[in-house]
């Protein structure tokens, strides 16, 4: 083999702490290396061209690039060597940036380590074989998990592009958190006026199938051909018959159900349509509150339903769908703020969350758009907003900034003034974070035009006194302690990954961070991809974000799915297992362990042998590690290739 080695400086990223020329010099002496050089930016066009030129000039048959992580640029360089006429798998990378130059400053040690990593890469490359992908057909349908604004955007874009879309929503209606908002910042336009029509579009789009009140049960298969099982939870109402007339909700005698949509601001009925603009506008029964289910007697809804849609015997149903791509858009939940004993831990009715306040502001909400104190229904005059509740708080494991609270608090302060002109708002904040078009201007307006008093400091304690709430805070700019007697306290509660996010990530085989947010493929370059091909991310499930960003990401995820499924055939990854039949003794151990059932037993002249089903194999290599005689090997990660790396490191 004729190997060429290219040591990338990555500007000063690598060259700052690695003697790249020195590494190149040492690499020249490695077996089969016929050409070795250092290079400023290997990934840039001149860099790639230099690699191609060197291949041609020196008749290289294999290339090692020592630069950043292969998780970043392996595909880039594979394409480059392919342009040079070499099979893309006759290429290896040594990660001398993330694993060397960025984690230590000792130039001598770094240079030595970089040279060793190159030696390992070259040793492996000598055993690489040309691999060629096979192609397989794809299912031109995309699954969107979550019907919030990000999911809606992704679904509509994909459907408009001609893809079939299956949307799964956990709640009985789509709309997500945005549907609960009264207005949106910084335009203060009506949330349901802009979201509502989009929700209707979802319902009416011929390419979209909506499964509301449903959850993802199971995912198997791979990019292009996922097999998905969806659990349609029992609503006890036959939605084919339900017309959404709402008669049942009027007559339901159980009137103390927790109102999920309205965040518990006021009770609701056990059978309900979450809100007037709900999509689908269908009734469902909350079993926990239904008299029939709990006391065995009632049946009022069944009696009044004009279409006979009530079905108390309804069971969960599993629907199976085949899709080519998946968009996860599961959004966020508010952190459980009742961990704050100093804010009353939920004991004081007039301490509400920002989302509860939205419902109080909303004309279609339980108070009809009138701001009323939960305790006595009176209109509050002094309203205190506390920001960073459960955000930027390492003590409760939520050290991150939720990102949207500063803006919605400003909006809520404005709306408070609109609703109650003689009210006074006080906003306790730590920093105002308003980087967005028109955002900072908005936070100035609320102070300058609406007279909200912004106080820079956290609140230490809230306690009731004489029908008011005493808010003990600090004004660090003034340098001291402040107190406000408030009629109502609104907590700008931060967000966290939606409940069940880790479990969903495990089903989708994608990664999630320590807080349960899904991991993007690359923080800069693959913001909507994941490490699992064919699974994309949209909205707050990837990290908290506001509506414009969620919508943008929804479109981006849709674009990725559309791009993927625009092709009729996809190339399979050739890094899969293969069996050398003469070594195989048919012991079946590989078949036993394969997580994908990708190996089957065949009969070869009376002898049992293993055979890899190439389209099913995912290339984990578990079989390879299991086979005692090494008869089954993982292409590109064979025993010999890994041993060559080990031995490059061994001294005895």
């Amino acid at each position: 083999m004729r190997i060429g080695v290219f040591i990338c400086h990555c500007g000063s990223n690598i060259a700052g702490t690695v003697d790249c020329a020195g590494v190149a010099q040492r690499a020249a002496a490695y077996p089969d290396v016929v050409y070795s050089t250092d290079i400023m930016y290997a990934c840039a066009e001149p860099g790639q061209d230099a690699v191609i030129a060197a291949v041609k000039e020196h008749g290289l048959t294999g290339v090692v690039v020592a630069s950043c992580t292969p998780r970043m640029h392996e595909p880039t360089f594979r394409k480059a060597v392919e342009r040079a006429g070499i099979n893309r798998y006759m290429f290896e990378m040594a990660n001398i940036r993330e694993h060397v130059s960025w984690i230590g400053k000792d130039v001598e040690a770094n240079t030595n380590k970089a040279a060793e990593l190159v030696r390992m890469a070259a040793a492996k490359l000598r055993l690489n074989r040309e691999l060629k992908p096979k192609s397989f057909p794809v299912t031109k349908r995309v699954l969107v998990i979550g019907g919030g604004v990000a999911g809606i955007q992704a679904a509509l874009d994909a459907a408009d592009a001609g893809l079939e879309v299956v949307m799964v929503e956990k709640q009985p209606t789509i709309g997500g958190k945005m549907a609960k908002l009264d207005k949106t910042f910084p335009t203060v336009d009506c949330s349901s006026c802009i979201l509502g029509p989009r929700m209707v579009d979802v319902a009416q789009h011929p390419n979209i199938t909506l499964y509301a009140y449903s959850e993802l049960e199971e995912v198997s298969g791979y990019v292009g051909n996922f097999d998905v099982k969806i659990r349609k939870k029992a609503t006890y109402v036959n939605w084919d018959k339900c017309t959404g007339c709402g008669l049942c909700t009027e007559k339901c005698p159980s009137k103390k159900s927790y109102d999920r949509f309205n965040e518990g601001v006021g009770p609701t009925t056990a059978i309900l349509i979450p809100f007037p603009q709900a999509i689908p506008k269908k009734a469902s029964i909350e079993r926990d509150y239904c008299r029939l289910f709990n006391q065995g007697k009632c049946g009022v809804c069944a009696k009044v339903c004009p279409t006979g849609a009530i079905d108390y015997a309804m069971q969960d149903e599993i629907v199976e769908v085949k899709v080519g791509g998946i968009v996860a858009a599961t959004g966020y939940d508010l952190v459980d703020w009742t961990v704050y004993g100093e804010y009353g831990a939920g004991r004081y009715p007039d301490v509400v969350t920002s989302l509860q306040y939205e419902r109080m502001l909303s004309a279609s909400g339980p108070t009809g758009g009138h701001i009323k104190r939960p305790s006595d229904g009176k209109e509050p005059k002094d309203v205190v907003f506390i920001q960073c509740v459960a955000s930027r708080d390492p003590s409760i494991g939520r050290p991150y900034c939720s990102g949207f609270c500063c803006m919605y608090t400003a909006k809520q302060a404005i709306l408070t003034k609109d609703h109650i002109p003689d009210s006074q708002s006080y906003v306790f904040y730590m920093d105002i974070r308003s980087p967005g078009k028109g955002y900072d201007e908005f936070t100035r307006r609320v102070q300058e035009e609406y007279g909200a008093r912004y106080v820079r400091g956290r609140v230490s304690m809230i306690y009731p006194k004489g029908g008011k709430l005493v808010v003990r805070g600090a004004d660090t700019l003034m340098g001291g302690q402040v107190e406000v007697e408030a009629d109502l306290v609104v907590l700008a509660v931060g967000g966290e990954a939606a409940a069940g996010s880790p479990a969903l990530a495990e089903k989708l085989r994608i990664s999630y961070d320590g807080y349960g947010f899904f991991m993007e493929g690359h923080p800069k370059l693959k913001p909507v991809e994941t490490n699992t091909a064919g699974v994309f991310l949209a909205g707050a499930c990837q990290g908290l974000k506001d509506i414009p960003s969620s919508v943008a990401q929804g479109s981006a995820a849709a674009a990725k799915a559309i791009g993927l499924l625009s092709r009729n055939m996809l190339d399979s990854d050739p890094q899969i297992a293969f069996v050398s039949v003469n070594r195989c003794v048919g012991c079946r151990k590989c078949i036993e362990v394969c997580p994908f059932k990708a190996i089957r037993e065949i009969d070869m002249r009376g002898q049992p042998k293993a055979e890899v089903i190439e389209t099913v194999c995912q290339g984990c290599g578990l079989c390879n590690a299991t086979c005692p005689q090494g008869a089954i090997q993982l292409s590109h990660f064979t025993d010999n290739q890994i041993l060559a790396e080990v031995e490059a490191l061994c001294r005895f």
């Binding site: 012991c587 079946r588 036993e592 005689q629 090494g630 090997q633 025993d639 041993l643």
Partner: protein, 320 residues
């Protein structure tokens, strides 16, 4: 009727349905019985089952797959059969197991030690059991040795003297020599410390002649002609006569047998240089037993390394 005779009639009764029955017959020396392949009554001449029935006849079963075979089995042989069946390396319906109560087998090296200067074990004319003793005819007259002193180590810790999975069992079941295998030998060995053990293996492996008798005697080695120790594709070890390479072969064998080894001890017994290679396998068996409660060759559950539990109650992962 003696056990021997009962076994013979059991063999004859089963033989019509079988291509052969594997037992033990006369070996090259009076103290060493050899495997005997019985296809007819005539082959029963010299059949023996007892103190000299050292070899594990299960060794031959995988290569005879495809036809129904009978074997006369000690408890430990039967465990090998059980494990082969569990791993589907043989089919249970293709084996006819004839069990008998085993009272332990000879360790010829111990006899040699007992004989001391009297003679070499190969010069012994005959062996006779007499109560708790064995009596050996040697050129220098009779030598009497305590039977327990010339019995294989594994028999002293045997928990499975009877082939419990036998199709036919002859005789009365024996009580096991030990209630459970405590692996005291391994604990003791391990207690010698890594430095001493490293030197131990350096010395032992320097004597290894790479004859692979250990592997060839192992009834659970599935690789046979495709051992990775003699391959370039994949190429795990060189053919050099180096200690690390030879030791690595033992590691390969031990790792391949982890969670599978029934402890029949044939590897160690077969070693012409008396290298205690069973120690490595028993160290792994101890670990597997402690972690997963798994004893190979007893029961039919999947070997622990070919399966998993999502929550491993016994694996305490290091908390960094």
């Amino acid at each position: 009727m003696s056990i021997q005779d009962e076994l013979k009639s059991a063999i004859m009764a089963a033989l019509p349905d079988l291509s052969c029955v594997i037992g033990w017959g006369p070996g090259p020396e009076p103290l060493r019985a050899a495997p005997l392949f019985i296809r007819g009554e005539a082959d029963l001449e010299g059949f023996t089952a007892g103190f000299l029935s050292v070899n594990n006849p299960a060794l031959y079963l995988p290569s005879l797959k495809g036809s129904k075979v009978g074997i006369v089995a000690k408890g430990c042989d039967a465990r090998s059969v059980g494990q082969l069946v569990t791993e589907t390396l043989i089919k249970r319906e293709e084996v006819h197991v004839i069990g008998y109560p085993c009272g332990g087998v000879i360790d010829v090296d111990k006899v040699a030690a007992g004989l001391a200067d009297a003679c070499e074990p190969g010069e012994v004319g005959a062996l006779r059991e007499d109560g708790d003793d064995v009596v050996l005819d040697t050129p220098k007259g009779e030598v009497r040795l305590a039977k327990k002193d010339v019995t294989a180590d594994k028999c002293g810790r045997c928990t499975f003297p009877n082939a419990e999975n036998a199709d036919v069992f002859v005789g009365i079941r024996r009580a096991p020599a030990a209630a459970e295998d405590t692996y005291a030998d391994i604990a003791e060995f391990e207690a010698r410390g890594t430095e001493e053990l490293k030197a131990f293996w350096e010395k032992e492996m320097s004597r290894c002649i790479r004859c692979y008798a250990c592997r060839n005697a192992c009834p659970l080695c599935v690789c046979r002609d495709h051992c990775i120790a003699a391959s370039r594709e994949p190429h795990w070890v060189s053919q050099a006569d180096d200690v690390p390479d030879k030791l690595f072969f033992q590691v390969i064998h031990a790792v391949h047998l982890s969670g599978r080894c029934t402890g029949c001890g044939e590897c160690e017994r077969a070693c012409p240089l008396g290298i205690p290679v069973l120690k490595l396998k028993r160290a792994l068996s101890r670990r597997v037993e402690n972690l997963f409660g798994y004893k190979a060759g007893i029961g039919t559950e999947t070997p622990p390394l070919l399966t998993f539990a999502i929550e491993e109650s016994t694996i305490k992962e290091r908390d960094w």
